[in-house]
């Protein structure tokens, strides 16, 4: 209360000083209507002014003044010309330019904004001006610390008189409060409290710079969600996606919790024992948002719901009607002073936000946070443009800090240009669209896929080269040569092995033909087989010769050579005997001898053939194992 009194004293002093200062100009405010909206944590003061020029010179700018304690909380100020004569809200679209000015002969404790009019206000003329001023952190919790069960009470200070460098003829103030309960308020004559609206009756003929402090102490249990810092990263991919990632660092900006938190009380009666806490926030995402996620540094936050209004999407894309609603619930209910941090991310279709004009592309995106009624102390918007973008410029409807960075992401070589916009004290009124213009060659899109393709291509080429190249250190060393020779010998032996096995197949064919003969008695077929086998075997023996001579010349093959030679000899023996047997059998058949006779004739041969075959098989196996 002491501080309170001090401020009061200060203002009365200021008032005293101000009242002695000269009249500022010839303007007169014929009628001033102030509506103060205190329903949320953001204070919105709408003032409609009727300005009259009582002097002789045309005037092109109007000054608005705010006391210091309000000026530092001022987040947003706009003045629009109201041209509608009637009650309709026909304010002329765009706001008038406003800027801070420091006129002479005024006390330092006031901040002035000048509103420049498009055309000067002539003598005797009047106009209607609507001014919207939005303040953050203008509500002071009192008491500053409450326990879980207490309700949150706030203090609001303002002046009942419209603080202005001009004379005010008629003025009224209406304060809209969130709930009926008002702890106390400054009572002036004619003050009326009806329901949740507090009215200070019209004041007449107020001199310039008059200040009449009022204080309202009232209950407000709205969520006081304040983002200390919000980093929005908007990443453009020309493959058709805009990825938005928002890192929130949030706290409850209301009256601080005294410490003890009982889940039991909170669960049993959440609206009594925890009235000042909030457990959910609603974010209105742009239409057709997809792959929404909500997490923090330790993983998913499993408490959130998403309502996509996919049905309502229409051609006009009235974003308000077809937005996606995301209800996010922090891991724990936020009591006064508690903090939390989380990240929301979602993807958006590129064509809704990226447009082209004059050979330049531009991104058209909303500036503020999609969360309702959120105060942001520091907002950093980063627009990550695709790699290779040039001629980058940003246009934002209000002053922001701006610079550029470079970000390295998937497979970048030079990095992606990032446009960074920073603004303090952001309120939902700042959710206007801003544009980032840049030039981008569509062919650059192919760079990363091509890089990947070539990367893998060269990897495979390298593998092939490695497999085919001989990487031995010394090619003349004895062991290397021996290895090479040994490989050659192996290959030769393998060839011999194959040839012999061919021979053996041929033998089998002969045998088979003999069996067929015994079954069908078709001598001609048997002879034909014999002929083909004969020619085959002849060719084979020719092939064998160079291989054997190679083996003989090679020193490495010394220990296998005898075996190979033995194999060849045995095979030849076998071959001859088989031939003999075949001839005999065929002869016998031609002579039409009996089966027993044939058997007797070939019996001796047959025995040898079997034993030889056995030996050859053994040798084959031996050689195969080499």
């Amino acid at each position: 209360m002491l501080r309170f009194a001090l401020t009061l004293l200060l203002f009365t002093l200021a008032f005293g000083v101000l009242s002695s200062s000269p009249v500022f100009s010839d303007l007169i405010l014929a009628k001033v209507d102030r509506r103060i909206d205190l329903t949320s944590q953001i204070v919105r003061i709408t003032t409609s002014l009727k300005v009259e020029n009582a002097g002789s010179n045309p005037i092109s700018e109007i000054l608005l003044s705010f006391p210091e304690n309000q000026a530092k909380h001022l987040a947003y100020l706009t003045a629009t010309l109201n041209e509608g004569k009637g009650k309709g809200k026909a304010s002329s679209g765009a706001g008038l330019p406003t800027e801070v000015v420091i006129p002479k002969d005024v006390p330092d404790s006031l901040t002035f904004y000048s509103v420049s009019l498009h055309k000067g206000l002539g003598k005797g003329e009047s106009l209607l001006l609507d001014v919207l001023a939005v303040f953050t952190h203008a509500l002071e919790p009192f008491p500053e610390k409450i326990s879980q069960a207490d309700i949150q009470l706030l203090l609001f200070q303002d002046t009942a008189h419209f603080l202005s460098p001009y004379k005010v003829m008629v003025q009224s103030v209406a304060v809209k409060l969130p709930e009926a309960r008002v702890e106390s308020y400054t009572k002036l004559e004619g003050t009326k409290l009806s329901g949740s609206e507090l009215k200070y009756s019209p004041f007449h003929n107020i001199p310039p710079f008059s200040y009449l402090p009022i204080i309202i102490h009232f209950e407000n249990n709205q969520p006081f969600a304040v983002a200390e810092e919000l980093v929005r990263e908007i990443e453009i991919s020309h493959w058709g996606n805009v990825q938005v990632t928002e890192h929130y660092n949030l706290f409850h900006g209301g009256a601080k919790n005294k410490g003890e938190f009982s889940r039991l009380d909170y669960q049993a009666r959440p609206y009594v024992r925890g009235a000042s806490a909030f457990r959910r926030l609603v974010a209105r995402l742009p239409p057709r948002a997809h792959s929404v996620y909500y997490r923090d540094e330790i993983g998913n936050i499993s408490t959130s719901s998403l309502w996509g209004d996919s049905k309502k999407v229409d051609v006009l894309q009235l974003s308000y009607f077809c937005s996606t609603e995301l209800e996010i619930e922090p891991r724990y209910p936020l009591f006064g002073g508690w903090r939390t941090a989380f990240t929301i991310g979602y993807g958006l279709p590129l064509r809704d936000f990226l447009f082209e004009s004059d050979g330049k592309r531009f991104l058209n995106f909303s500036f503020g946070s999609p969360i309702n009624e959120l105060v942001i102390d520091t907002l950093i918007v980063k627009v990550v443009l695709p790699e290779g973008s040039k001629d980058i410029s940003a246009s934002v409807p209000f002053p922001v800090k701006q610079w550029q960075e470079t970000k390295f992401s998937h497979l970048d070589l030079v990095g992606r240009p990032v446009v960074v916009l920073e603004k303090n004290n952001v309120v939902p009124e700042h959710n206007e669209h801003f544009q980032v213009y840049y030039k981008f060659n569509s062919l650059s899109m192919l760079r990363e896929p091509l890089m990947l393709i070539f990367g893998f291509f060269f990897l495979f080429v390298a593998c092939i080269v490695y497999m085919h190249a001989d990487l031995s250190i010394s090619k003349s060393s004895a062991s290397y040569l021996a290895k090479v020779q040994w490989e050659e010998v192996q290959a030769t032996v393998q060839q011999i092995h194959n040839i012999i096995s061919h021979c053996l197949t041929a033998h089998d064919k002969l045998e088979a033909s003999l069996r067929d003969l015994s079954r069908t008695g078709d001598v001609q077929a048997c002879k034909a087989t014999r002929k083909s086998v004969d020619s085959l075997l002849k060719g084979v023996s020719k092939d064998l010769k160079p291989l054997v001579t190679f083996l003989q010349s090679s020193p490495q093959a010394a220990h296998i050579l005898p075996k190979v030679e033995e194999l060849i000899a045995k095979e030849r023996d076998l071959q001859e005997r088989l031939m003999a047997k075949h001839t005999t059998v065929v002869d016998c058949y031609e002579k039409k001898l009996g089966g027993r006779e044939i058997e007797n004739r070939i019996a001796s041969n047959q025995q040898k053939i079997t034993s030889l075959r056995q030996e050859v098989d053994d040798l084959m196996e031996f050689i195969d194992e080499i």
Binding site: G259, E260, F261, S262, R263, L264, A268, D296, I298, G299, N300, I301, S302, T303, R331, Y332, W338, R339, T340, A341, F408, S409, H410, L411, D412, L413, Q494, Q495, N498, I499, S501, H502, L504, T505, D508, A512, L536, G539, V540, D543, D617, M620, E621, D624
Partner: protein, 776 residues
Amino acid sequence: MAASDAPNGDVLIRNAFGSVLAFLILLLIGVLAFSIRLFSVIKYESVIHEFDPYFNYRVTQFLTKNGIYDFWNWFDDRTWYPLGRVIGGTVYPGLTLTAGTLYWFLHSLNIPLSVETVCVFTAPIFSAFASWATYLLTKEIKGVGAGLTAAALLAMVPSYISRSVAGSYDNEAVAIFALIFTFYLYIKTLNTGSLFYATLNSLSYFYMVCSWGGYTFIINLIPMHVLLCIVTGRYSSRLYIAYAPLVILGTLLAALVPVVGFNAVMTSEHFASFLVFIIIHVVALVYYIKGILSPKMFKVALALVVSIGLAVCCAMVAVIIALVASSPTKGWSGRSLSLLDPTYASKYIPIIASVSEHQPPTWPSYFMDINVLAFLIPAGIIACFSPLSDASLFAVLYIVLSVYFSGVMVRLMLVLAPAACILSGIALSQAFDVFTRSIKFQLPSLSDHSHIDARDASSENVVLDDTIKTDKNEDTPKERMTKRSKKKEKEPVEKPPTKFQIKKRLSVLPFEASIIAVILLVLLVAFYVVHCVWAAAEAYSAPSIVLTSHSNDGLHVFDDFREAYAWLSHNTDVDDKVASWWDYGYQTTAMANRTVIVDNNTWNNTHIATVGTAMSSPEKAAWEIFHSLDVKYVLVVFGGLVGYPSDDINKFLWMVRIGGGVFPHIKEPDYLRDGQYRIDSMATPTMLNCLMYKLSYYRFVETDGKAFDRVRRTEIGKKYFKLTHFEEVFTTHHWMVRIYKLKPPKNRIRGKNKKSKSKTSSTTTSKRKGTRRNPF
């Protein structure tokens, strides 16, 4: 000429086809091993699991942020307050360095994956590597077919899955790969006698030492194998090359790892390797002398050497025994001792015994973890004996030892799993080999083919075998296999036979029996696959920090742990100290970034006992202990409201035991009524007044009016009480985590009065207290 070229090329093509097929199968096995472990990510989320992985994750974060040198010198002051912990010197760095390298590699390619993502997927990646290493190892033991089968089995063995699902970022994840790969290189060296592989082997051993304390298994198993080889007369120069470089290089490299250091030569775990090192040299010398001396001279020399050698050995052994006996734990670490004597831990070290994974496993857990492999192992052992080689001897020894170890500690089931897979792979492969060969051999005679085809078909066996294996491993439809094999049968009719059936004809079984056996084996393996997928999906994928339950109205998520940790991390001062039972230490430091008193690295028993004592003391005494430790918040886990069984009340007896082990005024019987642990109205007053009880059940009665504990299924004993020294600051949504704040000290003057009073009245007690009071 054409005739001679054609078969040659054909064989080449067939070989190439076979190796391409094998390569493809291996690739698919890798994919299988990776993807079967993603159930946790799909069903839950990409998050680090359980307790230890959080510590590893935190260390990896530190490593990637501060670099390798800061990592070695990292003194962590966020844990074991006020002692702190030298992380760089007490941690096995293999896992962290692996993930860190992976992270740096990806970032050097500008692929901005977060540390968490890299950590989550390290384990699945390495289990793919592990199955490839299994292929290599089994291939060295029993050939390609067995290798592929074993790799496929390992890719999905539940025991290994339990430790390597995505998010289970623990040492074992990479250590199993290192273990198998080290064994592979050892066997490879043994088979080739190449020094190149011997060097690689020691490097791989080094990696294993970096990764896991289980490296002692390698350094004991390999000497045992060497010894067995020597005893059975299998000594060769290859054995020497495989062993000697490993001991020398391996020990030197192991000593480079800070956490091992001089332990590599000073603890008993490593003695076996040195002993065998000496023996192998003696044996080598004997063989050498045998080679240069005549038999007669050799006998004389032998007699001489043996008599002198024996004397020297006796002296050495006496010295070693004396040295070992002089150290209190006989040179063995507690965990190793409990391996040798399964009852050791429960007798002497309650901290080791209190960890559930250090308990001996039950029979169902064998079935759960290795399933049908348990039945295939004996067959594999038999297959290893026909014929017995150095490599298959190793496999047999490996399985025998790991079966013993797994019987002591559940955790070591993990070491059994690869051995079981290798032997089962061998068994299955051999069985399929025999059955398919029998079928192939008899198939043509039935279908009235010529004789040549039979031989042909038998030569096809190897390839066919593989196709069958892939079939059952990948679980592809059976029709495809039969079609493919039929196609192959037809193709080679014209081709010359390359092999003859004489030898292999020996093991031909009746046709029908083989068909039935093959079908049964395929069914068995199919059952195994089904079980593995079920285990991966249902049993082993829960991250344990997020719990879910299915009820009628859908899935319910219990995310209380992270709720509490997030609250701590955002709403308490960054230097506040949080006391909790040690299970939650790692998570608190990693997720909430707050200093803890004790954590899962249970290196200081006294400190843990202090916290245990505080938890089991009455409120005021507990407050004093906590206050002396500068604790500001106390965190307890309470499952009574929702029925979460592994809460602090259920762990409470261990707190009492561990606390009582150091501070004797805490006596376990005080907390038990007739030897029974209970919290209902029959509970002892000590129990009902201890801090843990009070913090868990504070205002619990007001939830339902009866204070019914859903875990213990009873009404609690003391329902209405107030806290005088603690205040509740946060309780999570399902009451699973409750955080209390220590109230500031009472008015000083009143406290002084009290103190002086108590001093005068009980000097004797304070004297007695002096011995058992904690040092802070």
